[in-house]
């Protein structure tokens, strides 16, 4: 086993992420602030007359791995699209505005954190590309969810989804480095070949911790912001240890 291979162990990647975060405290601060902003938006929405879909946490008997393709913060109160119909203009503006502000804050904070951890300059096109991907994933399937009976029923699907999640761990970092979506996907896929189990361990540890912290009432998104920083640190560690040059 080479030295480079051993550094891509689960513990090695988590330790590297810790060191990178310690060296760049602004990255953690940005994501914690974004988490606090999401928590504030959640707090307001949960007390408003607007319907919200809550986050089912560990106290609800739900165990899940909350690990998305992009670095993100778990919200405990999202407004379902169908609930926006026929809202009075004041509440429509409030609901859409809060969701939008929270989303933009998380995108900005995660892109900023990744750029600091990757020691690169964040450009406007890279930020826009990252935000667009985050928005698309936000309305699609962006989080690994395997729980209860679903484990038995959908094992092949879950395994396939997990493989994709593991192989795309560096993807958000590559977007921040300025690569196109296609290039970022391709390079993530190739550079993680042979490191699947180590990255699976990272996804499991970070995703489970994210779920546990996000389960906390009110402060859940702040805890999720902390785990988003770890996620960003891991992304930076993987990219730097697989050592690929940026191909624009």
């Amino acid at each position: 086993m080479t030295e480079e291979d051993s550094s891509l162990s689960t513990t090695g990647l988590l330790a590297d992420a810790r060191d990178r975060l310690a060296a760049n405290p602004a990255a953690s601060v940005a994501l914690l602030l974004a988490g606090a902003l999401v928590a504030g938006a959640d707090w307001y929405l949960l007390r408003s007359p607007v319907p919200t879909a809550g986050y089912e946490g560990i106290q609800d008997g739900r165990v899940t791995v909350a690990f998305e393709f992009v670095v993100s913060v778990v919200s405990r109160a999202t407004v379902p699209p169908s609930a926006l119909l026929h809202l009075k203009s004041r509440w429509l503006a409030t609901a859409v505005g809060l969701e939008l502000v929270a989303f933009l804050a998380v995108v900005a904070a995660s892109a900023f954190a990744l750029s600091r951890l990757l020691e690169t300059r964040l450009t406007l096109p890279a930020l826009a590309r990252y935000g667009l991907v985050a928005a698309l994933l936000g309305v699609g399937v962006g989080r690994v969810d395997f729980e209860g009976g679903a484990v038995l029923i959908g094992i092949p699907l879950i395994v396939a989804f997990l493989v994709v999640t593991v192989r795309l761990v560096p993807f958000p970092g590559r977007l921040v480095l300025g690569e196109s979506v296609g290039t970022a996907l391709r390079r993530s896929w190739t550079e993680t070949r042979g490191h699947g189990w180590s990255l699976f361990g990272v996804v499991l540890v970070v995703g489970l911790a994210n779920h546990l912290l996000a389960s906390a009432p009110l402060a859940g998104p702040v805890g999720s912001g902390a785990m988003a920083a770890v996620h960003a640190g891991v992304v930076a560690a993987v990219i730097r240890r697989t050592g690929g040059e940026t191909q624009l």
Binding site: P49, V50, P51, P80, S82, L85, H86, L87, K88, W91
Partner: protein, 367 residues
Amino acid sequence: MAQHDPAGRNHAPSATPPKDGAAVRWKREIDIDRGFGYAPTPIVAEGRVYAAGRELLVLDAETGAVEFRVARRSRTPPAVASARAYRSPTLAVTSSRGVTGLHANGGLRILGSHLGVTRWKGGDSDRQTAFFGAEPQTSPPVVAGGTILVAATDELRAIDASSGKTRWRKDVDTRRPAVHRGTVYAAEYPGGVRGYDLETGEDRFDAEVDVAPPLSVTAGPDQLVVATDDGLAGLSYDGETRWEFAPEEFSRDYGAVALAEGVAYAGFRGEDDSYLVAVDAADGSERWRSETAPEETPQFAPPSVADGVVYVPTEDGGMAAVDAGDGHLRWQFGKDADTHGPWSPAALVGETLYAIGDGHVYALEEP
């Protein structure tokens, strides 16, 4: 909502439904479960008729034209509640899966289809009311202001009609509650009648019925009429049992009571036959008994009262109109055509009686 108002009186004081006979203004086919029990009462609000069955059918109340359908099976009447964040009311639908808030006007209409009908989902699918020997049922939702009250096994829950969030919940085994002057009254078998603040859920009232354990409660202007194991009882808002009506030859179990102009109307089971009985709510004396008995599967159907007439779905089929003054049968409709089980209780609005019978939603008016 079911039983007309939050108090559960089943009295429509401003309605003048068909009195001397019934003619069909319109009827519309509905997909309902064919069973022994009566169908859920259709409810009328915002110029629409909402009828629950294997699907939720929404009709124009004036013409009977189909406005939209929702693929949602329910065995209880829905309820319409004002929602403070919305330009249109919330339609609360209960099922064995819990309570769901829908857009009462059907959500987004695109190319003839209604999309995004659901506003919120609430409740607990594990909680449902089951009657011995019958299919599990849920109590109909009760609306008071912007609050939806739902009784399920071992709990009473108050839900914000706009957000779907639970305002408060109580561990109490009860059926449809009744609301009067900001207090929610619930019969807790076999304990007594409890009262909770509508807004906060704070305990407001606690009284035992001296004569027998309570089964359900109707809130009158100056007293509660409590259906008990033995019959009916009058319970003052001070918690004092004023009277009891429990003749030895009668029995009854669950089943709602109508209360109009100082008279309570309810179904009773005799030794051989069942009866619709009118009881003076001032002293508990019997005014009359009619052999036009309400359908009693799975429980006595609630009578509906307006303009001196009591309307009941009958045991022998169809809808009957009984004179509130002396109990004589004024007319009966649909007795022979009943092939889909008993008729539903009636909803009385304006000059029209709405009910489900013979696989159709009917709008009946004076001939």
